[in-house]
């Protein structure tokens, strides 16, 4: 059959037509909804992309500033200061918390940073309060360096959050678009084809029925005519019989001949 894949394999009945029509309506509504979702996601996607570009630019700046401030600290406080700082770190004071944000049904992970009071109070250069590292030389540079790095981390966290959202959103958009396209290009045409097919089949059946009815009607009419004709003949014969009886002449023999010939050729009667 032409377009075998283009229609569902169903029995062409009126019930089925109803079912398929309902499915088509569902598919259309679903398609509209998904299209809307896809649009909403794309808007979000563009916004995030814009933010990512801006954040990346500022990240370049922040990273450069932070690594340069480290060089400054090393210049003033000596190269050994990094070991001193490294050794006195206990636990991270700047931590990242993640939560989910819902955009058009897609769960986007969001990261926010916060200062862990436990880490901060444990002292050390990681603490929020200024420490005594580099007291004799370069203490200020060390704290400036820390401030610069904290800023860099903030930007990084923001960027990480955006990037993850970006990837998730990208995936979601792809899936949604795939669904939209599938609905638009496969499911809906198939349902429509099925409906056309069922309708066609039903029409065909109807036409067949009509034809049959007509045929039967014609047959019936012919039958009636024939019976009418037979009744007429019979009536005439009766009449002839009556006449013959009155005359005293039997026309039975003739009749017999006529009847016997009547089986073969009706025309002889007339």
């Amino acid at each position: 059959m032409s377009g075998q894949s283009q229609r569902l394999n169903v029995v062409p009945t009126v019930t089925m037509l109803g079912v398929v029509k309902a499915r088509l309506i569902g598919a259309t509504r679903g398609h509209a909804l998904l299209k809307k979702k896809s649009d909403a996601l794309t808007v979000q996607f563009r916004a995030i992309l814009k933010k990512i570009v801006a954040t990346k630019e500022s990240m370049g700046e922040a990273m450069r500033a932070s690594s340069f401030s480290l060089a400054e600290a090393k210049y003033v406080a000596g190269d050994g200061v990094r070991h001193v700082v490294l050794q006195s770190v206990r636990s991270a004071s700047l931590r990242v918390r993640s939560h989910q944000e819902n955009v058009a049904g897609v769960k986007l992970p969001k990261f926010t940073h916060f200062v862990d009071p436990a880490g901060a109070s444990s002292g050390g250069p990681s603490g929020a309060s200024p420490s005594l590292t580099g007291l004799a030389r370069g203490g200020q540079q060390v704290s400036a360096c820390r401030a610069a790095h904290v800023k860099a981390i903030e930007v990084l966290v923001e960027l990480a959050s955006l990037q993850t959202s970006f990837l998730t959103l990208d995936e979601a958009i792809k899936t949604t678009n795939r669904r939209v396209n599938a609905l638009e290009n496969v499911v809906k045409p198939r349902l429509e084809n099925t409906i056309t097919y069922i309708k066609g089949e039903l029409d065909e059946l109807e036409r067949e029925d009509f034809f049959r009815l007509k045929k039967i009607q014609g047959y019936k009419r012919r039958e009636v005519e024939r019976q009418m004709a037979a009744a007429k003949l019979f009536a005439e014969e009766q009449l002839a019989e009556d006449l013959a009886l009155k005359r005293g002449v039997s026309i039975g023999g003739a009749t017999n001949i006529l009847v016997g010939g009547g089986d073969k050729d009706e025309d002889i009667i007339f």
Partner: protein, 351 residues
């Protein structure tokens, strides 16, 4: 005074003085710095340095060069020169040379103690120690859990022992204490060095006491500025100032109560030698102070080469080399990070 030294100085120390003056001419000149500042990559820096005394130390480094490698190799050269001089030295010059390294020794001890407190691997820590401040029993520092044990088990055998005896408390070590301990030790070290130099007498005493006074004053100012806004109390701050120098004792009293940088400036401007330093930096700015101090230090160190027959040249040479390494580090960092407009900010040319 000088005549006596002239008579006897060269008997023991003439050779080494000749060596150190020879090494001094190996320090990078302004022309070298100009060339280095023009460099585009670290490889260019390496190429320029290969024409200097650092050449043999850097020549076998593979090409993806890193700033830390350059600094490491340059420090290695300094250490080699120091060891060479120490081997040749007689008393009391050998003691003098050892005194120079005590500062690094203190840093190493503090580093190991800090690392041990945070349960780091000792071997890993030893790699990070400054090579000038190594001593035999340094690895066993890791066993100590509090100050008393630290002193009793390890430090009593090191030259640092007398300094520790001053700041012994049985308190457990924590970060605040360690930083205070470091500075207390350094204070004791500077005072001891000062006394030792005064005892040597002659031109050594004159020049070294001058240099050490400057060092002590600089520390006092830095401690004051860096402790503004921290938990360090005024009394604690006062205790960290060395008991000599131009600022001692009245300047220390004033510094101890300072609450911001401008007050420090007010105190320091009473002292003519420091007026010029503070005149260079604008109000409310403390970033450039370090450079100003470094410049002043370099000037004073260079002046010590103007006299003969004294030990201060050794001290000056070591310090100038360290400054040179700092300069190299700064230049390489600037080049590596594409911040060439900042190159001239912190380079202190020597000679």
């Amino acid at each position: 005074m000088y005549s006596w030294e002239m008579l006897s100085f060269n008997i023991h120390d003439g050779f080494l003085e000749a060596i150190v003056r020879g090494n001094r001419s190996g320090l990078l000149t302004q022309a070298d710095y100009n060339n280095l500042c023009q460099c585009e990559t670290l490889d260019d820096i390496k190429m320029h340095l290969s024409a200097t005394e650092y050449g043999p130390y850097l020549q076998n480094e593979p090409s993806p060069l890193h700033t830390t490698t350059i600094v490491e190799k340059c420090t290695l050269k300094l250490v080699d020169e120091y060891k060479h001089m120490l081997c040749q030295a007689n008393e009391p010059l050998s003691t003098f040379l050892q005194y120079i390294t005590y500062g690094h020794m203190i840093d190493n001890v503090v580093l190991i103690v800090t690392g041990t407190l945070h349960e780091r691997d000792v071997n890993e820590l030893l790699e990070k120690c400054h090579p000038l401040g190594m001593f035999d029993s340094i690895a066993s520092l890791a066993v100590a859990q509090n100050m008393r044990e630290l002193y009793r088990l390890v430090l009593v055998d090191t030259p640092l022992a007398p300094y520790f005896s001053e700041c012994i408390t049985s308190e457990d070590l924590d970060d605040m204490n360690i930083e205070i301990m470091r500075n207390t030790l350094y204070k004791a070290y500077l005072e001891d060095f000062y006394k030792f130099c005064a005892k040597l007498g002659g031109a050594t005493a004159e020049i070294m006491c001058n240099l050490l006074s400057f060092e002590a004053d600089r520390r006092a100012v830095n401690i004051t500025i860096n402790s503004i806004g921290t938990e360090l109390t005024r009394d604690d701050r006062r205790k960290l100032y060395s008991n000599f120098g131009l600022l001692f004792p009245y300047g220390h009293e004033d510094l101890a109560v300072c609450e911001d940088v401008d007050q420090v400036r007010g105190v320091m401007e009473k002292y003519p030698p420091y007026q010029s330093i503070f005149a260079k930096i604008s109000y409310g700015e403390s970033q450039m102070l370090d450079k100003a101090f470094y410049e002043e230090e370099v000037k004073r160190l260079c002046l010590s080469f103007e006299q003969q027959f004294h030990y201060a040249v050794f001290f000056a040479y070591m310090r100038l080399r360290e400054q040179e390494i700092r300069n190299l580090m700064w230049i390489s960092e600037c080049v590596a990070q594409n911040q060439k407009n900042r190159v001239h900010d912190s380079v202190v040319p020597i000679f």
